[in-house]
């Protein structure tokens, strides 16, 4: 890769880091693993930079690398079920996100419930609800049919909503 192209590639990657960390955090459930994932993904992206097609979406490409590394890691460590320690769910964000204690608890519950979802559902929910990708973009990123995206999303929400005190026969 020419120096200038490489410098641009690196600058684009740095600019993406906040979103990559957010995605990795929503998968891994804790900051340490999330940052390890992002770092490993960036290193892999640099090694495979020739495979990136300029003009295509670098965010989707990076989400895919993170997701693959995360799944590899999960398989190797054979850790299944909740990746989020119940206490880790309370990870501090300096109070930026939550103004009131009940908000903090809601966010803690959300992190915990996310960590209890199966990997496939967690990925889809993170990309749709947090990263704001369309169903088609998620399907392309994860290389699964769009129907799979929708069914995983549906199952994820069936599990998630009751844990957040939502969707259980609520009336207006």
């Amino acid at each position: 890769m020419a120096d200038q192209t490489k410098a641009m590639f690196q600058a684009d990657l740095v600019a993406l880091v906040p979103r990559l960390r957010r995605f990795a955090l929503s998968l891994a459930g804790n900051r340490q693993d999330a940052d390890d994932l992002v770092q490993a993904a960036c290193e892999k992206a640099l090694r495979n930079a020739a495979q990136f097609v300029p003009g295509t979406r670098m965010d989707s490409w990076m989400y895919r690398i993170i997701q693959n590394l995360w799944l590899d890691d999960r398989r190797k460590s054979a850790r299944h079920g909740a990746a989020v320690d119940p206490d880790e769910a309370l990870l501090s964000d300096d109070g930026k996100a939550a103004r009131l204690p009940q908000d903090r608890m809601m966010l803690a519950q959300t992190r915990k419930a996310m960590g209890e979802l199966p990997e496939g559902q967690r990925e889809v929910l993170a990309l749709v609800a947090i990263e704001g990708l369309s169903y088609r973009e998620v399907a392309e990123t994860l290389q699964v049919p769009i129907g799979t995206v929708m069914s995983r999303l549906s199952r994820a929400r069936e599990a998630l909503l009751p844990k957040l005190g939502l969707g259980a026969g609520r009336r207006q």
Binding site: S92, R99, L107, M114, L161
Partner: protein, 239 residues
């Protein structure tokens, strides 16, 4: 209407025409409307729950990996994300010198639960050290006020003391009472070893996490920004 369609509506995944049809449907189907509200609430909670990295600087080790160079310096940088941007090298050096000058005391500084004696070194730091600035103690340990948080009972400050010699991080929450500061909770844990050797510590999560239940119990709100903190300092931390 089936749930997948309502979900696609909540996710913004429908065409404008399809979305308009759902809107019409929701007018006289309050249960479906409630479901859509719940989906949107869950999406908002998810977005908020993992939002912290969006307002944080790129961690040094990740930047270094991207730029293919070794991380700069072998400096332990705990809570890097909390440090305010205004803290430049010169300001830091000045604040360290000032802190050493203003509070030259001999007794070791301890973070223990109870009233902070007026005029003690800890009292001095709580009174006058802005959040994010580092004060080097005589023992070589580094004291940082991580944040100032409002609670219904008054202002509280998170204090961190890193003693790398002893391999320990102490963390405390001190709250302002009418008569002075009081440490409400004090915690201690080892400096994460592997990280310190690698030259970079992101001591986030583990120990701040321990304070979270206390902050919740106190009803703590958003950390004050630099200007609000300076104002609070100027009026002696009174509400």
């Amino acid at each position: 209407m089936d749930k997948e369609r309502l979900a696609a509506f909540a996710d913004g995944a429908l065409t404008p025409e399809e979305a308009a049809a759902v809107v019409m449907h929701l007018v006289d189907h309050p249960q479906d409307q409630a479901y859509v509200d719940d989906l949107m609430a869950a999406n908002a909670a998810l977005a908020q729950a993992f939002a912290a990295p969006m307002s944080e600087p790129v961690p040094a080790r990740i930047r270094a990996a991207i730029e293919e160079r070794a991380p700069e310096g072998a400096k332990v940088v705990p809570y890097a994300r909390r440090l305010p941007l205004r803290m430049g090298g010169l300001a830091l050096a000045a604040s360290v010198a000032l802190a050493a000058f203003l509070w030259p005391q001999t007794e070791p500084l301890r973070l223990t639960v109870g009233d902070v004696p007026a005029g003690s070194r800890l009292d001095g730091h709580l009174q006058g050290l802005p959040s994010g600035e580092v004060a080097v103690l005589e023992s070589g340990a580094e004291l940082t006020i991580l944040a100032t948080l409002p609670t219904p009972q008054g202002l509280c400050r998170e204090v961190e003391v890193i003693d790398r010699g002893a391999g320990r991080v102490d963390l405390a929450l001190a709250c302002r009472q009418p008569e002075g500061w009081r440490v409400e909770v004090a915690l201690s844990e080892p400096v994460p070893e592997g990280r310190a050797e690698a030259g970079y510590v992101a001591a986030e999560g583990g120990d701040t996490l321990a304070l979270t239940p206390w902050l919740d119990r106190l009803g703590a709100g958003l950390a004050l920004d630099a200007a609000a903190e300076a104002e609070a300092m100027a009026r002696g931390w009174q509400p």
